[in-house]
Symmetry: C2
Subunit: 329 residues, 2 copies
């Protein structure tokens, strides 16, 4: 069966998602974005495919969804569920399933418990499945360590480190981690929400814990700037000594004041590219990667999971519903 | 809810499984084995716990299963489904679910399609779930690479290497890989089934491919001896130059004569302990471990999955039913 998909959000990630969906033989039947630079253009042109697809990017989401009758909506417009839920409701209303990069939707009961209950109820009534996924939350900091934990008979602690060279990433990524700001500017911009750095540490911790059946007493998260000790330069930013070279952030899960889960992201200019999952207990083991490319991997997770979401139960689900394979506390 | 479990098979792996189940708070309500050295003894004594458990190891499986009314049977008596299926039927008959280390049960339709259909039918009629799992098949060569593949937008080939130092393993493992045999003895013993080396390469390849929706045209597997170039010694074997120091085996999956999956096991004296999963495509990535301890990890997988199998659909299921998260072809 060919999957009929609407791409909701045609920013950098949405464009990657659209490309991958097309490569994998999805029938892309609609594209939604509000950017005046894109509205009215053919999706093929926006993607730089060198050919038209007969699908115009449109800003009237209700019209696109009603006219195109999609099986699934591939949604990538924002990180915060309380900002994007009306978009997700529109997809639910036409009976489509939704796979979204919205980070806080990966475990929506943490930040938005009431909204999560409403949308869950709404989705069930329309027979629609809604899933938040991506590489992070969605893979490195939650699903992967949970799966790896299955080989442990006794688990003491999981730490996951993701380190990446921010200079290789797109402009909007470099901007959101505050490159070139002074430490004061960074703190203020982060506090005011003008830059977000990484969103979803707590969601990853809670998703992982839930997959393992671990009952956490407390979840914490935090981010701070990594300050340059010399001059650095990227394609987009010049960074002087004393300015922000990147960000280090973490999420932690505690049981009785003991940290049992720690996920840490280091994104900075000239940081090494790797992930490392350390599982401490019996038998302990460490897995290390050559580095997951964030943007393509996010698009991959979204598109690879889309056919699987079509067969999942209606409602607001999480990756716990798709992966029933983990250490069991 | 406390899980009532019967341990079926109290060999080296069964003992580990029993220990882990007890540690995790399972109510171990029965133990079955035919070894005269164990029958009649208290399970606590057999496990060397220094205390009795009030559970005797018994050889009459039907009686144990009938009297103990288990939720789940943790089964580890053999590698070949056509030899162990009557034991699994006994568990089904009392309505228990089964998690088994039987390697060929991880994808039973490869070697035993008719038997698999019969047992599937039988299990459905009794409302029982039957799963083959373990570390291998069950983790390193199938579930793990399938999960890791989710971050790829385009997959060309997956190769998995598991390398382990056989000198650190138990006697029966060292024996089954033919340590100290001449090359001729090895070939003959393997041909006659007197030693098995690793069982389940093809099952892993087929399970992984099925999780990804890859349609293979051909599956191959093979094993050969690694010959010592000097004297080696383990706790149990003396190996002279020219004798068997270990085994290298593989399973391969092909599409149109192109090898798209290759899993390889190197088990030899003084081999390095590690696993490596190489995912080639877009974006390529490699994950490498410090080495999975085979026996404890097998026990961990069996016991960690037991509560999850209790909630799975009746019938002969595979890990594909528990893990719906993978690259999608």
């Amino acid at each position: 069966m060919t999957i009929r998909a609407v791409v909701y959000g045609v920013g950098p990630i949405g464009q990657l998602i659209a490309r991958v969906a097309l490569e994998k033989g999805f029938d892309v039947v609609g594209a939604i974005d509000i950017d005046p630079q894109k509205v009215g253009k053919d999706l093929g042109e926006v993607l730089g495919l060198g050919k038209t697809l007969g699908i115009k990017v449109e800003s009237d989401a209700d019209k696109v969804l009603r006219d195109s009758n999609p099986d699934v909506v591939l949604h990538s417009t924002g990180s915060f569920f309380d900002e994007v839920y009306p978009q997700i409701m529109r997809a639910i209303r036409v009976g489509a399933d939704v796979v979204s990069t919205c980070e806080t939707l990966a475990w929506p009961w943490y930040r938005y418990p009431d909204l999560a209950e409403l949308v869950d109820n709404y989705a069930r009534n329309y027979g629609s499945t809604v899933l938040g996924a991506g590489v992070n939350p969605g893979f490195v900091f939650d699903v992967l360590p949970a799966v790896l934990s299955t080989t442990l008979t006794r688990l003491e602690k999981i730490t996951v480190t993701r380190s990446l060279d921010a200079s290789k990433r797109r402009y909007s990524f470099q901007k959101k981690i505050g490159l070139g700001m002074t430490p004061t500017q960074f703190r203020e911009a982060l506090g005011r929400g003008e830059i977000t750095a990484h969103v979803g540490f707590a969601e990853s911790v809670l998703l992982m814990a839930s997959m393992m059946g671990l009952r956490l007493d407390k979840v914490e998260e935090g981010q701070e700037a990594i300050i340059a000790d010399r001059h650095y330069e990227t394609q987009y930013f010049r960074i002087e000594e004393g300015q922000v070279r990147g960000v280090v952030g973490h999420g932690s899960g505690f049981i009785s004041d003991k940290e049992v889960i720690r996920v840490e992201l280091r994104a900075c200019v000239e940081c090494e590219d790797f992930e490392e999952v350390r599982l401490m207990g019996e038998p302990s083991i460490t897995w290390r990667s050559t580095g997951t490319s964030g943007d393509p991997a996010t698009a991959a997770v979204i598109v690879n999971l889309a056919p699987r979401v079509l067969n999942a139960r209606p409602g607001l689900v999480t990756l716990k519903d798709l992966v029933n394979y983990s250490y069991t506390a």
